[in-house]
Point group: C2
Chain length 313, copies 2
Amino acid sequence: MKDCILAIHGGAGRLKDSQTRAPVRQDYERGLADALRAGQSILFAGGGAVDAVCAAVAVLEDNELFNAGRGAVLCSNGEVELSASVMDGNDGSVGAMAGLRRVRNPVIGARTMMGHMHGLLFGAEADARAERAGLEMTAPDYFITDRRRAQWSELRGTGAIALDHSDRDNVQGTVGAVARDAQGNLAAATSTGGLANQLPGRVGDTPIVGAGTWADNQVCAVSTTGKGDAFAQLAFARRVADLIELTGMNVPDAAAAALDDVVRVGGEGGCIVLAPDGELHQPFNTPQMLRGWITGAGQPVVGILPGEKIEIA
Amino acid sequence: MKDCILAIHGGAGRLKDSQTRAPVRQDYERGLADALRAGQSILFAGGGAVDAVCAAVAVLEDNELFNAGRGAVLCSNGEVELSASVMDGNDGSVGAMAGLRRVRNPVIGARTMMGHMHGLLFGAEADARAERAGLEMTAPDYFITDRRRAQWSELRGTGAIALDHSDRDNVQGTVGAVARDAQGNLAAATSTGGLANQLPGRVGDTPIVGAGTWADNQVCAVSTTGKGDAFAQLAFARRVADLIELTGMNVPDAAAAALDDVVRVGGEGGCIVLAPDGELHQPFNTPQMLRGWITGAGQPVVGILPGEKIEIA
């Protein structure tokens, strides 16, 4: 039996100063810790890595502080479009959905695509499939918070997406998780509301396996956050895995090299990478990345600013 | 000045015997040759690799024999949904659209996304953007041929996609091109109607950069065809490029290794790969792949069955 490990991110970006200080900071820290404990309890009960990453991501989706599920940013038409993907490092199977508007937990919707002949489904048909699978559905209003409506009111009609507004709340959203279960299986999952004021129909890196999500028991598990179009343009997550597998590069060097490519194409963000031996790295080139990890029966450890490691009792 | 090279594919799959013999065979051969000449004329006039691949793919889209643009397969709801992507190997820029129903040439639509902050746009917003860009729009009926309507009538309600019917016409569709222009720049483009009887909203590998399309001046240009979900699950095109770049593997070995992975996950298909030095390979593990190439001021060379090299005067 290997030690179980779960790591998550809750978005890389630029928080307002007020949000990295009490009392808002504590809300983020608690949200991260809740997600870590949800995944831990599954791993501890003998659950698989796929179960654990989906459970952790679903908790972040339910928490309106994070840009995924409830609390997601709004598209230019004032509506939400949610995306998620999940990958099983044991057999390479994948599931992904995009353009969701009704399924409460997009990551659980994405999971229903695992084993389906289609890997990625967009829009109304995806919601309908989730509903037929018995998942909890909601009205679109469930996802939309006052904070996001206010953000959209500022952006609407400007043609700008939130990335252009580094002076305001701008966690670039996306939540994700990577895990290793007791059998040594790896998995990764990612979920997002996209970019504030994005065009409806935008497909970023999050629902694309190889871009925002990757898992291979022999190599690593990866989940990304940031300017997703840059990560997608690079097939980022596959690149990190290939650098490790094909060159023997270590995890931090591979992640750093891939993030350098993101900067080169005008992007920014971060990722979490877990190796089969349990080595974990959570690098980012934005001022903050909401993140955390938990091992075995331990306590959650979270961070927002670079270098932070805060144990949550 | 380097010799210009253009290579294309028109789908890997299982043609009915009658289609690999005269007179239908000649129609396929002529269609491939027309596309090669369209790209050649652009390269010969000093045009760029991106211009050439888009021109060649657009000719295949306009030809109803191929599963892209006019003549595309129908989704389970009896409608078409078209996808395409293009990548510039010089600067790594990308453009992609999916779920298109109105723009006559999806690859030209995809190209309008190059330089946009979004890399991939799905559905009505994508068609609207193409229309605003001044592209030629059509009614959805333009795309639907009697042959595809008949195919759909056989499949509808069965839940099967055309892949399950290897005894009937089953070119797995997708068309694509790779090119090197006189400046040595590489580019790749791919376009498809997807899988016959697929669910509306399916996003396969074709509109996903790193899966169905890749271009990097220093490494290679790649376009794929086949069971797209398998190629997407593997981030196939990025994998081919990484094998070449990171291990020094030669082009045929890299393509063969990546196609072995496709088989391992239950898929089949083929790809075209062009190296910066002009080395070209067009491997496939289906009974046929429609394909061809043209160099400099030469004549088109096309093939359908393994090993065929037919010069078209």
